[in-house]
């Protein structure tokens, strides 16, 4: 009986090991194909409709980028009866974004050069369908690639509390982050509860804190920089998984000694899945050129 059980355990172990090994190999083979023949695979997807439903995976969990390379694209469940072209067209959305972005990211999390910022900005602009850049109107932050850490909720108006902060039960999962004791760098989002608009709510929900005080030229003209950064729209991207959020600069910080370069609201951190054991990790953050304020705040997918 014991021998019988041992046999079954061993064959399951064999299966698991092979499955794991071959899934990684399969992902690597697909990745190589997409990388070597990007143009023609894109043409294929665009011009030859699938005979089967194309399983386009959501952005979450599909990229698994490890800077500076795409470590692996997850193996798609292979169907033995698949049509050849349909099989090839099972490209997780964001694959091309990952392939373009990963070679541009440095190994370590460091300030990007002007050339790197330009190239990465172009890739982000193309895949998120908006104009983004590390420099806007002659202003730029101290960096555009840095470690993000978790921030607390901000008081939106005098008297705002954790009890009054959430509109739906779903949002209450963010209550455990608590509320910062003081106001944000720009003061309250609204003068009072009755005057608070949906825009104010969204701004607090999707805010980041950046080190405005370390940005070049800040001390030379504080007033001008203050006006530029206040609620400035930015795109924040977790390059490890492609998850991105359109946010505003809602606060200044964190202090340089923390080792972090920016902070994200509980909602931002949750969407980016940038919450490891130390509650921090690398993100790209670029200004969005949106003079007419057309681009809504919140999570966004690659196109």
């Amino acid at each position: 009986m014991l021998k019988f059980k041992k046999f079954f355990k061993k064959k399951d172990l064999h299966y698991k090991k092979l499955h794991n090994k071959w899934s990684k190999k399969h992902a690597g083979i697909k990745e190589r194909l997409y990388s070597n023949h990007q143009k023609s695979v894109k043409w294929l997807v665009k011009n030859i409709p699938a005979k089967e439903h194309i399983a386009m995976g959501s952005l979450s969990g599909l990229l698994l980028l490890t800077p500076p390379v795409v470590a692996s694209l997850p193996a798609q469940p292979a169907s033995p009866s698949s049509n050849l072209l349909d099989e090839v067209k099972k490209i997780p959305s964001g694959t091309f974004f990952a392939l373009e972005l990963s070679p541009l990211l440095p190994d370590e999390v460091r300030p990007l050069s002007v050339d790197e910022e330009k190239k990465i900005g172009d890739v982000l602009s193309k895949h998120y369908n908006m104009k983004v850049s590390a420099e806007l109107e002659g202003k730029k932050l101290n960096r555009s690639y840095g470690l993000i850490g978790a921030e607390q909720h901000l008081m939106r108006y005098p008297g705002d509390t954790m009890q009054s902060h959430f509109q739906t039960p779903e949002e209450e999962i963010f209550a455990r982050s608590g509320m910062a004791p003081g106001r944000g760098a720009w003061g309250y989002f609204a003068p009072s509860f009755s005057e608070m608009t949906q825009k104010d709510v969204e701004r607090e929900k999707y805010y980041i804190a950046v080190q405005t005080f370390l940005s070049p030229g800040f001390m030379d003209n504080v007033r001008e920089h203050y006006a530029f950064y206040k609620y400035r729209k930015m795109l924040v991207v977790n390059p490890h998984n492609g998850r991105a959020v359109v946010v505003v600069i809602g606060d200044a910080g964190p202090a340089a000694w923390t080792g972090k370069h920016l902070g994200g609201s509980p909602e931002v951190m949750s969407h980016l899945q940038r919450v490891d054991g130390r509650a921090r990790g690398p993100v790209l953050y670029f200004f969005i050129d949106d003079p007419k304020d057309d681009i809504p705040l919140g999570p966004i997918d690659v196109i």
């Binding site: 064959k11 064999h14 299966y15 083979i29 030859i48 193996a75 469940p77 050849l84 099989e87």
Partner: protein, 111 residues
């Protein structure tokens, strides 16, 4: 597996035999073979596309879409010297790797 235009050049039975020798269940064998076949799909395709110009890659896709194997082979033979050999080599290289993986798992299965 659906018969592809290159199916006659590819051999996966030996892998199936090896999987059988590991004592895997039918379901487990099917799962693993599906990964093998998809990997071969992509490997063969990569080998072919690497020999074609951008324009010819598109024509090649159109031929596959028509599912006319004779036409596909005629096209490939016109465009690439010894294309069959190239496909066989790419598939054999991968198959060898897969065999090695099975041996490796078999020999180190308890580690």
């Amino acid at each position: 597996m659906k018969k592809q235009f290159y199916t006659h050049l590819i051999e996966t039975d030996s892998i199936l035999v090896k999987l059988h020798e590991l004592g895997l269940s039918e379901e487990q064998k099917i799962q693993l073979l599906a990964i093998v076949e998809s990997s071969l799909h992509h490997t063969v395709l990569d080998a072919i596309l690497s020999e074609l110009s951008e324009e010819d890659k598109e024509l090649f896709f159109e031929h596959i879409e028509e599912d006319d194997h004779t036409k596909t082979w005629k096209f490939l033979n016109e465009k690439v010297d010894t294309i069959e050999e190239k496909i066989v080599k790419a598939a054999k290289d991968l198959t060898k790797e897969l065999h090695d993986d099975i041996e490796d798992v078999k020999n180190n299965g308890n580690n």
